[in-house]
Structures are given as C-alpha cells and as structure tokens.
Amino acid sequence: MTTPTDANIESVLRDMTAASDQRTSLWRAALKHAPARAGSRRRLAWLAAIAQRPLASAAVLIVGVGAIFGIGTVTRHTLTSPTPRAQFPDAFQWRTSESLATAKRQVNSMVGQDFLGIDPRSNAAWQAIRRADVTHKSLICPSTTATDMSRYARFQYDESVRDAVNAAPVTLDGFRNDQDAYDSDSADLRGLGQGMYVYESADSPGKADAIRATTFDELRLAADSPPNADASAADASTFGERQVVRRATIEIKTHDVRAVFLKAQYLIKPTRGEYIQDSGIRGEGDKATAELTIRVDANRLSAFLNEMRALGDVQSEVLTGDDVTTQIVDLEARLRNEQRVEAELLELLESRKDAKLDEILKLRQSLGEIRARIETMTGQREQYRRLVSLATVLILIRAGDAVQTAPESHWQAFTQLMSSSWHTGVAYLGEVVAFLVRALVGGLIFWIALAGVLIYLRRKLVRRNAE
C-alpha cells in the first residue's frame, strides 16, 4: 500500500464526521423528557421530592397543620381568656382621648350604683365629675395595681387635675389597701384600672363607711347602706327625680345549676311588683345551663345582686344605666300640651253648640285624634315608669366547679396550680386531637386527592428515572 496523501487523509477525516443521512428527530425525544423551562423544573422539584415519599409527606403535612392549629388554639385561648376587663364589657371606662362632653354624659348616666373603670390620666373624666350633675356624689377610687398606683401618683402631681378634683366635692381614696382589691375575685374591679363607686349621696352614711373600708366587700356594704333621707331630699331638689332604666347581667358558675335556678326565683318579692319575666333550664349535670330574666324593684337592685352573688361563683357582672329623664320630661311636656288642647277643644265645643254640623264634626274629629295621641303618650309614660321602677336582671347560670376556697398553704397553692395546669393542658391536647380527627375525616376527599397526586408524581418520577 502506498503512503496516503494529505488529500486522502482529509477525505477520510471528513468522511468520519460526515453529517448523518439518517432521519432522526432526537430533539423531539429530548422535548418529551425535559420541561421547556428550567424554571418550571425547579418549581416542580419540591413536588418530586414529596412524591418520593407520599405517606411520609402526608404525615408531615397533617402533623404540621395540627401543630399550627395547636399553637393557634393556645394563643387564642391565652389572648381571649376572660380578663377582668373583658368581664366588664359595658362598664364605663374613660380614656384620655374622650371628650368632656362624653365624660359628662357617662357620669350622668352612672348616677346611683355602678362600678366605673377610669383611666386616671383622663383629665376629661375628672373635669366631668367636677362639672357634671354628679358633683354631689361620693367617689371611692381604690387603686388596683402598681401601675395604676404610679399613674395615680402622677395624677396627684398634675396641678390642673388636682385642682379640679379638689374643687369637686368628691371623696377620693386611692391609696388604701390596693392588695385587697388586687386579690379580690373577678367580680370586683381588678384590671379595670381605677375603680370608682358612685354613691347616692355625698352625705350618706355609706360614704363614711366606704372611706373606712379596706376591702371591696366593705365597700359594697357601704354602698348598700340606706341613704340619708335629708340628703336624698336635697338630691331630689337639685336634680329632680332622675329616671334611670337599669339593667344587669350576672353570670354564675355553680356545681348545682337547678338549685341556684330555684333559689334565684325565691329571691324576688312579688309584693313589690317583682316578677320573673323569662326562665329556662337546659341540659343536665355538667352540661346544665339556666337563664332567668327577672324584674326587680330598682331600689332593691344592689341587695338583689348581693344575694345572687352568694349563690355561686360570679364569672361576670355587668350593670348599665340608661338615663331616660329627658325623654320622660319631653313626653310629659307634650302630654300636657295635648291635654291643654283637648280642654280647649272641649270648651269650644261646649260654647258653640249652635254651630253648623260639619264644623262640630270637624271639632270632634280633631278631638278624637288628640285623645288618641294622649293615650299613646300615656302608655309610653307608663312603660317608662315600669322600666324605671323595675330593673331588668338577666341571670346566666352554668355548671362548673364549686367556688374554690383560698389555699391554706403554699403547698396547697402549688398543688392547685399544678392541677389547674394539668386540666388546662389536657383540654388543649383534647382540642388538638379533636382538630386532627376533624381534619382527617372532614378533609378525607382532599387527602385522597392529595395522595393520588403524590402517587402519580412518584410513578412519573420513577418512570423518568428508569428511562
């Protein structure tokens, strides 16, 4: 064989890598096995990873959702657990931002017998007390927490407010026995900030008792003391007969719902016109609940509530007062006016006996309309009077542990705390397990669909790997 020339070499080399004459469409095959975009591939990567272990992924998902729910439940429970403030949703609470007019209106509506929550920084509140119609009232302000104490101290050093308070004939006692107030049960003012008790009269015997009082029970007793007759007369002369519609809601927890339900019915005094407006009891044992709507003599409301408090563990207590004096005064004025017109028409009818028939008929028609209005207004007035004279008390009774006595020792306190924590923890656990069961059973269709998708993805991945 002769030595190959360069041309021979070039020819062979070109031939070795000559373009294939074979018809192929390898790009189509590639397209089947590779997503068009690397981005989408990356996005699907986690799905592929999940698909590798569908059961483990589903388990992790369920546990994750359960954990999130558990944390959420605990957080919600913690945040929404009944705080003293929450137990007084309708209590009057002044804030620094409230205007003097608002504060005045609130003060006026609280004449008589309610707890007030007050932010001691609220100058408007104190100004209102000084300027409003309740300047004759006695206000006891037991401090409740160290924070409140410091606020109160600042308040004391605020000259303008101090002058306002000093100028008002009110009694303020904010430095006495705050620990008792702090330790008092939830029905008291704990957590409300400064508590105020508004007395019927500055000169009532209750005021002196209240100043000497060292506990809330004593404060209550002082508040329930009968007012001084002269002072009451002075009040009446100053303010007229103030008409306040009072409503109270008291929630009681007891181990014997039926017994408390029956006892509450015996507390009313039919001779004073008191009656049971509504009553009902449902469930048994731990699930028993009862409701009573009782109309009691407004003058006896405090005494009645005291008796109710003794029947069980008070969970919440809300007292509201709706001053309808203006409405009644207005109604009576219009009524008097209508009666005057009626009298004039009657007089006219009497003096014009010889008038034409159609004129007489017109007069009688007008008279009829006026009398209808008089009757309506009389009915409204009576309704107001009934509402004012009889306070409405809604009593909610539900089953629960008996009232706990104060622990006798630290060890007892510790065991009580541990017991309480255990029960709370078990309750949380129960809620979480219940949620998991709900999610598992309720979302069965979703889980099946998810498992289907994961199994499909897994098979697809395995097939791709095999190829």
Binding site: M1, T2, T3, P4, D6, N8, I9, E10, S11, V12, L13, R14, D15, M16, T17, A18, A19, S20, D21, Q22, T24, S25, L26, W27, R28, A29, A30, L31, H33, A34, P35, A36, R37, A38, G39, R41
Partner: protein, 184 residues
C-alpha cells in the same frame, strides 16, 4: 423572507415556541450526529444518546443562553462535552469487563458492510486516526468536520485559534508518521 437566525430561534424557543427548536434541529442535528459518531468511534447508539442529551441541555438551559458565543458554537460545545462524557463512561464499562461496550480502536472494522465499501487505504487511515491520542483525534475530527470553520472549532473547544492550529499541525504530523511507519 430571510430565515430566522439561530439566536432568534433559540429565543423563540425559550419564550415557549416549540417549533423553533425543530427548525434549529433541522439545521444542526445531522451534523451533530455525524460529529458524535466520529468522536465516539462510530458507536451509533452512543452518538444518538449524545445528541439527544445535547438537546435536553439546550431545552433546559435555553433561557440562560447569554449570546456571548454563537448558538452553533454553543451547540457543538455541548455535543463535544456529551461525547467526552459518554466516551469516558463507555471506557469505564469496558474496564469492568463488559466486552459488548468496549471501544476498540478499529471497531469500525467490525462493520462488515462498511468495510466492504471502504478501501484498504481508507481503513488504514481510520485505524491510524483511532490510534491517536484522544485530544489529537478530537482536534483532527473537529477541524475536518464539514460544518465547522477553524474559528468555530476553536470556540467550541474554548481554546484560541492559534492553539488549535498548532495542535492540528502536531496531530497531522503524528498521523502522517504513523501512516509512513505502516507503509511498506
């Protein structure tokens, strides 16, 4: 109307137009397959794999193509890398005693049909080329591949053109020496 450039086609494909890849494949698939067959000692199965894998990578990374080099160069570079990978993989299999995958220097001789139509001289040249060092063989095949200029071959190998030419010169010299030695 002028045919769209390679870059336009690749961009269109990256934007989701699948047919653009088909057009690109129509331009280069046969050449790539020929080159792969040469680099892989006429192993058709491996050559097909190399080209298919080249397209897979194009599909995956089309959106990352930055245009620093031409699309053609980019395609050849991917194909060459795939051939290198497959070649070394086949060599590993061969070392594990899988005689079916052993790449013999003159494996083409086994193809009876090819052997029948090729002259003895050509066969000698092929054998001499196959006996060369891998890098020199690669340089030779790329430089004489019909679809590539020297500049494009240098870009595909990521080396300067001067280096390519000197290596080509060296490879040709060695090939000639081998052929001279074999000549009687």
């Amino acid at each position: 109307m002028d045919a769209p450039s390679d870059e336009t086609l690749l961009r269109q494909f990256a934007d989701g137009r699948m047919s653009a890849l088909g057009t690109l494949a129509q331009r280069y698939e046969a050449s790539l397959l020929g080159l792969a067959r040469g680099l892989l000692h006429k192993r058709d199965d491996l050559a097909h794999d190399a080209v298919q894998e080249t397209w897979v990578r194009v599909i995956r990374f089309a959106h990352t193509f930055n245009g620093n080099a031409g699309v053609k160069t980019w395609l050849y570079r991917i194909a060459i890398n795939q051939c290198r990978d497959l070649s070394s993989m086949a060599a590993r299999h061969a070392s594990h005693g899988d005689p079916a995958n052993v790449i013999e220097p003159n494996a083409n001789a086994q193809n009876a049909e090819t052997a029948a139509i090729e002259t003895e001289r050509d066969e000698t040249i092929r054998s001499a080329v196959d006996a060369l060092d891998v890098n020199k063989r690669e340089i030779l095949l790329l430089c004489y591949h019909k679809g590539l200029t020297h500049n494009e071959a240098a870009a595909a190998l990521e080396i300067p053109v001067g280096t390519l030419k000197s290596r080509l010169h060296a490879a040709l010299n060695e090939l000639r020496e081998r052929l001279n030695q074999e000549a009687p």
